[in-house]
Subunit: 333 residues, 2 copies
């Protein structure tokens, strides 16, 4: 009998023991025994595809639990699906491993994948494992379905559209700050607030449930992965918007941090990894969008209205304009 800390040298063992169970229920995955997967799309369905790999030391801490970064690898890609109005159904996984993994590690890693795929509604369809002289690299290519003509682009917002954001912003950046300096905000945040922010960084929850409201009502959308201002600028395209920092939805944790030090506005304006969704909604679709979000149980907050020919401006909590260029946000093209 093999112990739980021995290493899995054989690729077939690794794939069939730990990964193939994640493909059960997807006939086109062929039990991960073929060289490719087969997708049989329903007529009238578009397939949405995106791929964001995550790399140890770049996108996650190598010492984290494998279940956590396995979750994250799927979450960051499922978030793109949701923002495009698509429903994820499957993913291709490519693992570049710096050493043969232990059974404990693969157990944790595959458990994280299972939690994520059950939460997001998708299956493992295929992939590849390799050894690498570099850091652990987890490649995920996710696929989702969208009714024909309902894909939600990034760049089709129009002047006059209302801009909404889901959930709260800045939590993951606060969580990352706490990971880097565990003693930070010791006298500012409660234990619960700390745990909340750390959890938002470690296990982002993509807004899968918003896909239907987006494809029915939004003119454009993207997920907030690179920071609110950067992603807002992408969404706005040629238009601008007047954003009040006070109107950005924040958690009690981020609110406490902001009250402590208003320079922490950067958490809200430039912090990444929240995996909330920014959407542009035409005026006559606002009511339907809000109702759809409510039915999905997802809080949405209106940030402003896009105006052609206007700049992107931000007022701080005291109503003063922030100098975005001086703060470096102007380069976030």
């Amino acid at each position: 009998m093999q112990g739980s800390d021995d290493r899995i040298e054989d690729e077939t063992d690794l794939v069939q023991t730990y990964l193939a169970p994640l493909a059960a229920g997807a006939p086109g995955a062929f039990g991960l025994r073929d060289d490719a997967a087969l997708i049989s799309p329903e007529p009238g369905t578009g397939i949405v595809v995106s791929s964001d790999p995550i790399i140890a030391g770049v996108h996650f801490f190598a010492g984290d639990a494998a279940a956590d970064f396995a979750w994250k690898a799927l979450a960051v890609n499922a978030s793109d699906m949701a923002a495009k109005g698509a429903t994820p159904f499957g993913y291709i996984l490519t693992l570049a491993l710096p050493e043969a993994p232990t059974r404990d590690w693969m157990q944790s890693f595959s458990a994280g994948l299972r939690q994520a795929q059950e939460s997001f509604g998708c299956h493992l369809l295929g992939g590849d494992t390799d050894r690498t002289p570099g850091p652990l690299t987890i490649g995920v290519t996710m696929m989702g379905s969208v009714p024909a003509g309902k894909f939600v682009p990034r760049h089709s917002a129009r002047s006059g559209d209302h801009v909404f954001v889901t959930g709260t912003i800045g939590d993951a950046a606060l969580g990352l700050a706490l990971r880097k300096i565990p003693a930070a905000f010791d006298d500012v945040l409660s234990e619960e607030q700390r745990a909340f922010a750390l959890g938002r960084y470690l296990r982002p929850r993509p807004r899968i449930g918003l896909a239907e409201a987006l494809r029915n009502h939004a003119s454009a959308a993207l997920d907030v992965s690179d920071g609110l201002l950067k992603d807002l600028r992408r969404l706005a395209g040629g238009s601008g918007m007047s954003l009040e920092l006070g109107s950005v939805p924040v958690s009690s944790a981020v609110s406490a941090a902001l009250t402590h030090d208003e320079n922490l506005a950067s958490l809200v304006l430039a912090g990444g990894d929240d995996y909330e969704i920014l959407a542009a909604v035409p005026p006559n679709a606002v009511a339907g969008f809000k109702q759809g979000a409510e039915e999905a149980g997802i809080a949405v907050t209106r940030l402003g209205i896009l105006e052609e020919g206007s700049p992107l401006e931000v007022r701080d909590l005291n109503g003063r304009f922030l100098d975005l260029q001086r703060l470096g946000y102007d380069h976030f093209a």
Copy 2:
């Protein structure tokens, strides 16, 4: 004006200057300006997906021309498409770069991608670029189309099926040996033979043209990427076959090497990276398969007939049985 050896620090510049032109002609790629790609499958079409990343120092020599390993990154995946009877139409590219690339490098890399995608008939659809503390890693997820019900599985060969292989076997392994020891076979191979073997390693040519014959006539197929015996064992499943080394098609280069040293049979039996195709064809489909291959201009050679309950046996050039277990081939499950 920027010189050709300055480095591209800006991701948008890199993507829009060097990669977006490769997406022209694919409307669902949105000029690489969205977070995801959209595929709109024809009714009655299945989508075949596979992903084999290549890593510097593992799958290619880091010092090779970027155009060459860019070609290889697409070729190894297009080979899987062909083996499954699918016609490649697009790919997702994820680049993990150890440093900001120079313009020269990106020019060469994108030129290699263009040569490959024009040769294989596909477009760049989307992807991602990241920095990595590790080696250059090129992730490709390729997608192809196959008429519904025509996917060619790996594991559905039947006893009595004839086994065919395309092209010649062992060339890439010989090329790799020449890369590692340039002075090898100095008095055995002509300059042309050396160049041929090196080219087969550096720029594999997937058998795209065989896809139609495979889906119309083969019961099972896979590409020869991990070595003939290993892949033959996968194809044979529960059956066996008697293989004569002399019946394996080889180039004049490999033939010269074998004549020089018959231990080089390992080039033919275990050398990888040929990206030829092994196919099982039912007896009543053999004529059609051969005709289809001929029409595609692809040489195919019959290796033997699968027999249920028989072992996989190999006879050397003198008719003697090779001891596969002693040679280590038995572990190639």
